[in-house]
């Protein structure tokens, strides 16, 4: 695992590419163009009769470079690397978040609005520290801002918008991450395999539960 983590993940490569693009175009941008929560034009859902054996995402991903860069930082704050599993960015979970918030369904449209505006609020905090975007801050600054947000959510003192922003971000990152092979291995899901018979839990488990 640790060897794996030292390699440049595909997502990390994409982030570096995006950073180059963002840097080049920064001079032409006013504030945060295209971040508008409602700017998305209606895309097509997959309908009610899908070929379940050939799944297709029928909509385009719509987050812009700076939003993705911000999310990549935040994703790794939510799910960092440790000795048992890699970080969110290592498994491209931000890409999944983009798929999620770009989907043309009410739940996801609401999440898009919450997350895009939440990212804007983080950018405004970054501006106070003379950075244009949250991802331009150094790692300590990023961690401090995010931790303040998390603590206010925990204490119940966050605004309703911040509370929802945080809750949904964590939900989508957790959902994206723990449904990967690495995530399922981390928590110890060992099913989805055909068996001759189902004989109940192993003796060791029964003993621990007293049944």
């Amino acid at each position: 695992m640790s060897e794996n983590q030292e390699k440049l993940s595909p997502n990390r490569r994409r982030v570096l590419q995006l950073m180059a693009v963002a840097g080049a175009s920064a001079a032409y941008l006013n504030n945060y163009p295209n971040s508008g929560a409602k700017a998305q034009t209606r895309q097509k859902g997959y309908g009610q009769d899908v070929d379940v054996n050939n799944p297709v995402v029928t909509w385009d991903k719509t987050l812009n470079n700076n939003q993705l860069l911000n999310l990549t930082v935040i994703g790794d704050l939510i799910i960092p690397t440790d000795d048992k599993s890699p970080s969110a960015s290592h498994l491209n979970i931000t890409d999944f978040v983009d798929e999620w918030v770009s989907a043309p369904y009410p739940e996801q449209e609401k999440d898009r609005e919450a997350i895009v505006s939440g990212l804007d609020r983080l950018n405004i905090q970054a501006n106070r520290q003379d950075a244009r975007f949250f991802h331009n801050l150094n790692a300590d600054q990023q961690a401090a801002i995010f931790d303040t947000l998390a603590k206010s959510v925990e204490a119940g003192s966050a605004s309703a918008d911040d509370d929802f922003f945080f809750e949904r971000l964590v939900y989508i990152y957790v959902g994206g991450f723990y449904t990967t092979d690495e995530g399922m291995a981390d928590i110890g899901y060992v099913g989805n395999v055909p068996m001759e018979s189902f004989d109940g839990p192993p003796e060791e488990v029964r003993k621990l539960l007293g049944v």
Binding site: Q48, V52, I78, Y189
Partner: protein, 576 residues
């Protein structure tokens, strides 16, 4: 199409499929009309695909309410262009548009109704009696189960009013999961007996269908035929007889009659491809498009002779609807934290349940002052380690109440809590009243030009008392399982000023053409034949008189087979 059919059957789900199977086996020439497309789980179902292989990790959307891999085609609670409305406490209507109907998206729970369920008035002085008794239905349960296939408990373990399939028919059940062992122990403490839940899943091969391999969710459909569905168990064998013609993509609109209004001549339907209205004739018409749709078709089949709708001289068409009532607690059990990984998938349904345990004096003593009862079980796929973990069913629940959690602590939490968060639930009876009915909204037509139903749904005080009792039992069960409550579904409903979760959401809606002994107060006789139209039968859940806590599908199929026997006999005697 040549007009030489003995019988037209509208709808190919549990009731229609059983009717098709029984009639074609008896040499009767059948036309099966289905509103949706042909569908075959053997080639179409997705089995081992994990959530990360689907858009949005397979989570439900307005297009696919129960997730991307759910077997439902062109259905769910909303279908574009085919609206309905509801008033009162609200009602949601699950539909499917595919051969086999809703039997693909089906929990496969198949308990038998008991003696008290058919004769509530006689036994308890409340509600109504059916025109059939358990003794009348028992041979049909046996016959249906023999074809359908099921596993279940040892029949000798059956408790009062929850009869079980005989040991020579039922197959052996899978062992309980770890969560269910703890559930059983807790029930025992409460003096409640648990046993395997009768389930239409094979644990040994049957009629060319394979045994379950104890993985994947039954609602995705089953490619190996281990989980029962109407196409696999009924329609495919019926096609082999050469007596079956299938007319897919055809929406039944009205039942046609002769000038007397007492004899059905056929069905008017809409061909979805040409959008044309067409008619087809036969000697007998059987409606089995789903309980709610049967009432809708009859109410839409108005004529000079039947100004209130066909078969509606009693004025009872569309009335006395019911669903089951559900209650739910999300709990976390510390004893399940950090357990060694083990496979708890099993059959995607509960392996164990506690049938309703209070009757007569005991029920009174327990303060259970309501009609019927409820069963208890541990929520299947999604909770604990049951099935592949998914966003809403697994992870959202594990994050319940964890405000502000992230980073290393979040990862530790997920490892520690995985497998320890689960739902425990009840499925209950509903008290049948005249406040639950459907009408047809003449002013609102669907995209095919057919007037749409309006549901009138009002929970009764009796339902509320039952729900309250369910909730108390669940809290006691949670405590005895060593769990703490993370979320209380009953409390949430109450806060939303609703007594119980919305009508229709347990997918067990029945009634609307209730059976009876009196043509003045019922729509169907004891053979599911309409009182008013001699050669018209209704063979889905519309005929239910009352609704016990048992899932209705097995009883729908047994009633359908019984109606089929009556049709066969009368056709042979040239009575129709």
């Amino acid at each position: 199409m040549a007009d030489e059919f003995d019988v037209i059957i509208v709808g190919s789900g549990a009731g229609g499929g059983m009717m098709v199977h029984t009639l074609t086996a008896a040499g009767i020439n059948v036309l099966l009309m289905e509103a949706g497309r042909r569908y075959d789980p053997e080639t179409e179902a997705a089995m081992f695909q994990l959530p990360n292989e689907a858009p949005l990790r397979g989570e439900g959307t307005p297009d696919k309410n129960d997730g991307y891999f759910d077997a439902t085609v062109d259905g769910g609670f909303e279908i574009p262009g085919q609206p309905y409305s509801s008033e009162g406490d609200g009602f949601k209507w699950w539909r499917a548009r595919q051969l086999g109907g809703r039997t693909h998206h089906f929990g496969r729970q198949v308990p038998r109704y008991g003696p008290e369920d058919f004769k509530a008035l006689t036994y308890t002085g409340k509600q109504y009696d059916w025109p059939v008794s358990y003794e009348d239905m028992e041979p049909y349960y046996d016959r249906v189960e023999t074809i359908m296939g099921l596993y279940g408990p040892d029949a000798d373990d059956a408790v009062y009013n929850s009869p079980q399939s005989p040991n020579h028919i039922r197959q052996k059940p899978p062992a309980p999961r770890a969560t269910e062992m703890v559930f059983a122990k807790a029930c025992e403490k409460m003096g409640i007996k648990t046993m395997a839940h009768p389930t239409a899943v094979l644990t040994s091969p049957l009629n060319g269908r394979q045994a379950c391999f104890y993985a994947t969710n039954c609602i995705r459909g089953c490619t190996i035929g281990a989980a029962f569905d109407s196409v696999t168990a009924y329609i495919k064998p019926a096609e082999e007889t050469g007596n079956l013609t299938i007319l897919p993509n055809s929406i039944a609109y009205q039942v046609l009659t002769d000038d007397s209004g007492k004899k059905a001549t056929g069905v008017r339907y809409i061909d979805k491809e040409s959008k044309e209205q067409r008619e087809i004739t036969a000697r007998v018409v059987v409606l089995a498009p789903s309980a709610m749709e049967s009432s809708r078709i009859l109410l839409n089949s108005k004529s000079d002779k039947a100004p209130r709708g066909l078969a509606n001289s009693s004025g009872n068409v569309g009335k006395y609807l019911s669903d089951t009532t559900g209650s739910f607690l999300l709990i976390q059990i510390p004893a399940f934290e950090n357990l060694p990984p083990h496979n708890e998938d099993g059959v995607s349904q509960p392996h164990l349940y506690a049938p309703w345990w209070l009757h007569g004096e005991e029920k009174k003593k327990a303060g259970a002052n309501f009609v019927g009862g409820y069963k208890l079980e541990v929520d299947p796929y999604g909770g604990a380690r049951h099935g592949p973990p998914s966003m809403r069913a697994t992870f959202a629940q594990m994050l319940t109440g964890q405000k502000g959690l992230y980073g290393k602590k979040l990862k530790d939490h997920m490892r520690q809590f995985y497998g320890s968060v689960m739902g425990i639930r009840c499925l209950g009876s509903m008290t049948v009243t005249e406040n639950n009915y459907l009408t047809v909204d003449e002013d609102v037509k669907d995209k095919w030009g057919v007037p749409v139903p309006k549901f009138h749904w009002h929970w009764s005080d009796d339902d509320f008392r039952r729900a309250q009792h369910m909730n108390e039992s669940l809290h006691e069960l949670a405590k005895n399982m060593g769990g703490r409550v993370l979320r209380d579904g009953f409390d949430a409903s109450r806060k939303a000023r609703k007594l119980i979760s919305m009508g229709g959401t347990t997918n067990h809606e029945v009634g609307g053409c209730r059976m009876g002994d009196d043509p003045k107060t019922s729509v169907l006789n004891k053979h599911c034949q309409t009182w008013d139209v001699d050669n018209l039968y209704v063979a889905d859940g519309a005929g239910f008189v009352t609704h016990s806590e048992k899932n209705p599908t097995l009883t729908i199929m047994a009633l359908s087979m019984r109606a089929a026997d009556n049709i066969i006999e009368r056709l042979k005697n040239n009575e129709i």
